[in-house]
């Protein structure tokens, strides 16, 4: 069997059939949360919701880093971009995320220096080319991305690139899983765990699911067949009453994860309480610079900030908690679209609202079918 089996329609049908059989045996509604925004996107694109039994609910979790970044972070990024001595370097996802009164895209149109980069490496290079300016990289992400930010800091330290700074917006995945896994309103039965976060943290990291939450979790890749294999494994564990953590993405995820990557993160950052859009402040759920690296910390650059203002009517927070689906938001497809996004969940291509807008909206309107 070759890799093409991961996309094969017959494989998908066979797996859907097996999931349906397990689901029948369990005989009640099941609520499975996919934690990662890339999974959310994959599920919507392949139309998996429509293929699975109606009582098997796939709930999107808080794993889109752009979406969970609080508006106060965007306010600070915009304020930094307005300083004439600053270039803001950012992944493209963040440029259209609304701040309280603006966005990086709007500021750029008004003359602020904002550079879209593919990698934190490119931001260090930008700092080398502009030694008289401060280059601020927007370091937003989970365990997957934060090691790349740490690597860029290592390079700046080693090569003496003094004008390279980071505005840290780093988030950790365990604390929100603990919060959501215990939420009596959500009643989650199991997690599809984020594949690429797991490359770094390792499958052994998730033992808290079994020990503290008594919930199953499956680490899976991003093809529809990967995801269906994960759902099948979860239904089997639920049916057997035997919650465990299974790793179905062994081709890139090991038990111990990537130790050198975690060590590099640990060198620069320490664990702190941080605020999440939709979830509020969660203890020990993010990172900040250690005191020895204060000279890299862009949050120490002075800016004027007003109190943050959330967009009126936007229910992004509830969507990120999985407590409502996008069509339940009064703005969804009525004023809030990917071209004119009001909330962060619609801006990011991995946001739940954007995934639903692009792939589920037509199906909701009655048109059926799975995309090729």
């Amino acid at each position: 069997m070759g890799r093409e089996a991961l996309h094969d329609a017959r494989t998908v049908r066979a797996l859907v059939g097996s999931v349906a059989e397990e689901f029948e045996l369990i005989g009640r509604e099941l609520r499975i949360m996919e934690v990662c925004g890339t999974h959310t996107h994959s599920i919507a694109r392949a139309g998996l919701r429509q293929l699975l039994p109606p009582g098997l609910r796939l709930i999107s979790g808080p794993g889109c880093p752009v979406c969970v970044t609080p508006i106060s972070y965007m306010d600070r990024a915009v304020a930094l971009a307005r300083r004439p001595d600053v270039i803001v370097a950012t992944f493209g996802d963040l440029q259209r995320v609304p701040s309280s009164t603006s966005s990086l895209e709007v500021e750029s149109a008004q003359g602020a220096r904002i550079e879209i980069v593919y990698s934190a490496r490119d931001a260090v290079e930008l700092a080398r080319r502009h030694p008289t300016l401060q280059v601020v990289f927007l370091g937003v992400g989970f365990e997957t991305t934060i090691p790349t930010v740490a690597a860029s800091l290592e390079e700046a330290e080693r090569e003496g690139v003094e004008n390279y700074k980071v505005l840290v917006g780093a988030k950790l995945i365990e604390p929100p899983l603990q919060v959501l896994g215990k939420d009596p309103e959500l009643r989650i039965d199991g997690f599809l765990l984020p594949g690429h976060v797991s490359v770094i943290v390792g499958s052994g990291f998730y033992s808290f699911l079994e020990e503290h939450l008594r919930l199953p979790g499956v680490i899976v890749g991003f093809d529809p067949v990967d995801i269906l294999m994960g759902i099948l494994e979860l239904t089997r564990q639920i049916a057997a009453g035997d919650p465990r953590v299974s790793n179905l993405y062994g081709r890139v995820v090991s038990r111990d994860g990537n130790r050198p990557a975690r060590d590099l993160v640990h060198r620069f950052f320490e664990v702190v309480d941080v605020s999440w859009r939709g979830l509020g402040t969660i203890p020990n759920s993010g990172l900040a610079f250690r005191s020895g690296y204060a000279h890299r910390d862009a949050s120490r650059i002075e800016v004027d900030l007003d109190p943050p203002v959330e967009p009126a009517g936007c229910r992004c927070g509830e969507i990120l908690r999985g407590s409502i689906e996008p069509p339940e938001c009064p703005l969804f497809d009525k004023g809030c679209t990917p071209m004119h996004a009001i909330g962060a969940c619609m801006v990011s291509s991995e946001g739940t609202c954007a995934a639903w807008y692009r792939h589920e909206r037509h199906r909701l309107a009655g048109r059926e079918g799975v995309e090729a």
Binding site: A5, T11, L15, G37, V66, A120, P147, S152, E155, P260
Partner: protein, 74 residues
């Protein structure tokens, strides 16, 4: 944002490598993959290799899928 793609290491130094997949080449940071060697597949995310792809494990996943389909198809 956590997208990552496997690419093959063509050449590497301590902190930098040339990687390639299907005719697309690029330079990536190797800080996070000290052990990857020329010829290995690495997972590339945001301009850095973040892990090595284990071909044996990839084969096991495919075998597992085959097993499940076998059961479901009968």
């Amino acid at each position: 944002m956590c997208l990552a793609i496997p690419m093959k290491v063509q050449d590497r130094t301590q902190f930098d490598a040339l990687v390639e997949w299907r005719g697309v080449s690029r330079r990536v940071g190797m800080h996070l993959c000290p052990e990857a060697e020329i010829g290995d597949f690495v997972l590339v995310h945001a301009g850095y290799a973040i892990g090595r792809v284990d071909e044996e494990e990839a084969a096991k996943t495919l075998a597992l899928i085959e097993e499940v389909i076998g059961e479901g198809g009968e």
